[in-house]
């Protein structure tokens, strides 16, 4: 090992991160080279001095000041977030208003646009009655209309009741119209 290689590896040597073989080579070079041994001692002594610098402690009111600053910071955060929310709401309301005004403006001033909705015509068909019309005598029905109630002469269609009773209202509607 030469001095250049020793200097290159010195950082790892001081920090004890060298592999076994490299460590032995460094130690051997130190034993042989006085200049590198001196350099090594100089570095180690300086580091020792620095590492032994006394630690400074936070001042007595450090915690109290920190607590006060944290509380103030929390208040600021709350204020800022409230302001932000208000600002967002205001922006949203402005955008919504602008959209509404735009829509109203377009609707009012756009002459080409049809004002009414055009719907396809409704086609309705009256379904064909599936039953045979009730054959009854007209005077009997008229008599029932004057009473305001549908009083059918039971004798007329006693035989047909199960089938035709369901359609009585339709028939009545036709007559009362």
């Amino acid at each position: 090992m030469d001095c250049r290689e020793f200097c290159d590896q010195h950082l790892a040597y001081v920090d004890d991160t060298l592999a076994g073989i490299e460590l032995v080579r460094m130690q051997r070079h130190l034993a042989e080279c006085q200049s590198c041994a001196k350099h090594d001692a100089k570095i180690r002594r300086a580091l020792l001095l620095f590492r032994n610098l006394p630690s400074i402690e936070p001042s007595a009111d450090f915690s109290r000041r920190l607590e006060a600053r944290l509380r103030s910071s929390q208040r600021d955060n709350l204020f800022v977030s409230t302001q932000r929310n208000l600002r967002r709401s205001a922006i949203a309301a402005t955008i919504a208003s602008a959209i509404m005004l735009g829509y109203i403006g377009t609707t009012l001033f756009h002459s080409d646009a049809p004002r009414d909705l055009v719907m396809p015509p409704v086609v309705a068909t009256v379904p064909e009655p599936e039953f045979t019309p009730i054959t009854t005598s007209t005077p009997a029905i008229v008599a029932s209309v004057s009473a305001g109630l549908t009083i059918w002469p039971a004798a007329l269609f006693a035989e047909q009741v199960p089938v035709r009773f369901a359609h009585s209202s339709l028939e009545l509607a036709n007559y009362t119209r």
């Binding site: 010195h10 950082l11 001081v14 100089k42 570095i43 002594r45 300086a46 580091l47 001095l49 620095f50 590492r51 610098l53 006394p54 630690s55 400074i56 402690e57 936070p58 001042s59 450090f62 915690s63 000041r65 920190l66 600053r69 944290l70 910071s73 955060n77």
Partner: protein
């Protein structure tokens, strides 16, 4: 009577929680804080305040400003802890914040020579020196020698270029690994090693005449 018993119970519970927090590692304390345990933050402050204060003080050389910056670090931690990537080391994150704040402080000073002057003045005022450095059991001449030596060491560190000094303090004072330093200073591993090597050599070179 019931009130006293309740107060005692609350105090015992508080003490138990504190002891429990003390036994936890950083990651668990962070998790506890994020889970709503406010006392966990106090535990983090207790763990890091002195270490960070020493780191920032050695970097910027102004004790009062260093305290302010450390408080700022904790405020940022409090505000942004929910964003902290818990797969990483908490200490690395905290030191990164502190390192950046110290760097900004030095940058601001270099832009404002008046501040720099005042700071330098402050560093040499007696009341700014840490009192606990004085060893009252030593003889007066020993005390003087020690004090003088400490001043020389501090001045020598202050003479190192900022990026060398940062790496040097993180390694020699805080005992950080190369990898952690690389993460804190946002440099690659090679740069960290090279800066550390240069810082050690420069420091030893400057201080050698006073030591021999």
């Amino acid at each position: 009577m019931a009130d006293i018993v309740r107060k005692q119970k609350v105090s015992v519970e508080g003490a138990t929680v504190r002891e429990h927090l003390q036994a936890m590692d950083d990651s668990a304390v962070v998790t506890a804080f994020l889970g709503g345990e406010e006392r966990a933050f106090s535990e983090l402050v207790t763990r890091y305040q002195t270490r960070l204060l020493n780191f920032v003080y050695r970097t910027i050389g102004d004790r009062e400003k260093a305290e302010d910056l450390v408080q700022e670090v904790f405020i940022r931690v409090y505000r942004h802890l929910h964003r902290f990537d818990r797969s990483k080391k908490f200490s690395t994150w905290v030191y990164t914040i502190a390192s950046n704040l110290a760097k900004n402080e030095l940058r601001n000073r270099s832009r404002n020579p008046l501040v720099l002057f005042q700071t330098v003045q402050k560093n040499f005022q007696d009341e700014d020196r840490p009192l606990q450095f004085e060893d009252t059991t030593s003889r007066p001449d020993d005390m003087y020698r020690k004090r003088h030596l400490r001043e020389i060491v501090e001045e020598t560190v202050a003479k190192l270029p900022e990026h060398h000094r940062n790496v040097f303090i993180l390694r020699e004072l805080e005992g950080k690994s190369y990898e952690e330093i690389a993460e804190i200073t946002d440099c690659n591993l090679g740069t960290v090693k090279s800066r550390l090597n240069r810082a050690r050599n420069s420091f030893a070179e400057i201080i050698a005449p006073y030591v021999d």
